[in-house]
Amino acid sequence: MAEQINIIPGGDKPNQDVFSETLQRLAETDQNIIAVTSDSRGSGKLVPFGKKFPKQIVEVGIAEQNLVGVAAGLGSCDKKVFAVSPACFLTARSLEQIKNDICYSDHPVTVVGISAGVSYGALGSTHHSLHDFAALRAINNIIIVAPADNYETEQATLIAAESKQPVYLRFGKKVMPLLKENSKEVFAFGKGRVITEGDDIAIIANGETVDPAVKAAALLKESGINATVVSMHTIKPLDTELLSALAGKVKAIITVEEHSVNGGLGEACASYLLQNGYYKPFKIMGIPDEYTVSGSQVEIFKHYGISAEGISNQAKRLLT
């Protein structure tokens, strides 16, 4: 018997806002918390942080390579550094600095990709980050996390501040509903969060696509299909224990991500499942290998089937 799906209507705040508020809370008692920005404090919601802690924000101007290099230098001196910039620039232009200066040199910096995926919507592909999971997955020594709701965002920020390993946090701009009321479970990197439980199909999503996945599960329930929805917030290290358990239980698996279908959450799951003997009907939902249709984030999502209807229809196709 599947659990009652519990969606809090109305939502709460954009994850970016929660990140900034959490960082501010941390900085109240820890002067080693440093935010590094590249003219990105506005979009990173860090203006209040900068006003309150002017010595704990380093502004480098629009210069992402320098942003990451400077962050690594600060990180080498025991600072708890959050390098904050739009994900599209941060994980492309300064990828070499992430790879070498942070990951290879092993400085515990948190790289924060804001306005990620297609958050910038109609601003177009220059401003979309649909490659970041793929690029960073292939780089050793970085934890990759895309929180789904405000709770996950707060927890991820707190854990990242104390992480001894480099972390990539990825946020969008959209107001996100809390996925579970009064979450009591312990949030940990590398441990997927089960939002709803059902034995027919697993929908594994992350970031802002968990919300439509949960809504898809509600639609499926109306058709008598019970879905497990997982917020697989951490892509690396992947929660393979949970994946194995799911694959042993459900008839089919769908992954959903605000990322290219190449190299992201879906392929990470597929790689694990196939190499460990789990052969299930499987579908990766995301942005196909093309420059996206123009439109808002919601319109782009809908265009590519990342919606309650799109995901539930895909689930039904996979189960027939």
């Binding site: 290099g69 400077v70 962050a71 070498n100 200066d101 040199s105």
Partner: protein
């Protein structure tokens, strides 16, 4: 150390650089030889860093942006006691930590480098940390003139001046040659002093193979309060070995037995002249 002793050190370092490059059958010979005197003076006369204080937050920091010239750095670090010199017998060998670019697996190395244009931004962060923590340590980075077209250097140059990082010193090993040929022909960066000055740095030029001049220049740091310091060190690529000097083929050329013997003979002659 006296000037004579420093000169002797440089010559011994050069012999060892060649010795380990020949043993490894790989290495960046020309640039290691051009930067030897800079590293010698930094580690023996300027920086407060040693195996004993390497974990202290107060130590001076050195990041080798021109990471490919790691042989010079390894030889100096071994001499300073960061690791036994015989470890370098494994240079570039299977499973050795002594690889062809700096890595923190080796005691005494602050930062993994190798890709160019990375040292300065990291050092800006490190120098900023010193300011934030009100620490007195200084931060040094050695760059090659061939790596200066990397845009990240100029991003960092702006930040260093913006934050008035007078605890930061960058040295350009201006040996005027890179793998393709003369740097001026590949991508001319002259007039270099004017560029750095325009970016808000205090600039001095020095003969980068003159240990006495280098010592005096470093002693004048910071060149101007409230400004990062740039030392444009005019050097000779392949310095100390007649047939390697100013020859681009020695960028990463490895001498054969005959060439090695000749090079060691020439360096021994310098040592003999210094002992007179």
């Amino acid at each position: 150390m006296t000037t004579k002793e420093l000169k002797q050190k440089s010559t011994i370092y050069r012999k060892k650089i060649l010795q380990y490059i020949v043993k490894a059958k790989a290495g960046h010979t020309g640039g290691s030889l051009s930067s030897t005197d800079i590293l010698n003076v930094l580690y023996n006369e300027v920086m407060n860093v040693s195996p004993q204080n390497f974990t202290s937050t107060d130590r001076d920091r050195y990041v080798q942006s021109k990471g490919h010239c790691v042989e010079a750095l390894y030889v100096v670090l071994a001499d300073k006691g960061f690791f036994p010199e015989e470890d370098l017998d494994t240079l570039c060998k299977y499973q050795s930590k002594y690889i062809g670019h700096p890595t923190r697996k080796v005691n005494g190395i602050e930062q993994n480098t190798g890709a160019l244009g990375h040292g300065l931004p990291i050092c800006v962060g490190t120098a900023l940390a010193a300011k934030l923590d009100q620490k007195d340590y200084r931060v040094f980075t050695l760059m090659g003139d061939g790596e200066l077209p990397e845009g990240s250097n100029w991003e960092a140059a702006l930040s260093a001046a913006h934050y008035k990082l007078d605890n930061l010193c960058a040295i350009v090993d201006k040996n005027t040659l890179q793998i393709t040929g003369p740097t001026a022909d590949v991508c001319n960066t002259d007039p270099l002093d004017e560029k750095w000055k325009a970016f808000g740095w205090a600039v001095r030029e020095v003969d980068g193979n003159d240990v006495e001049a280098l010592t005096a220049t470093f002693a004048a740091l910071p060149f101007e309060k409230g400004k990062p310091s740039m030392i444009i060190a005019h050097t000779t690529k392949g310095k100390g070995v007649s047939f390697m000097e100013n020859e681009v083929k020695w960028h990463h050329g490895v001498p054969n037995k005959e060439q090695y013997d000749q090079a060691i003979n020439e360096l021994d002659e310098i040592l003999t002249s210094l002992s007179d």
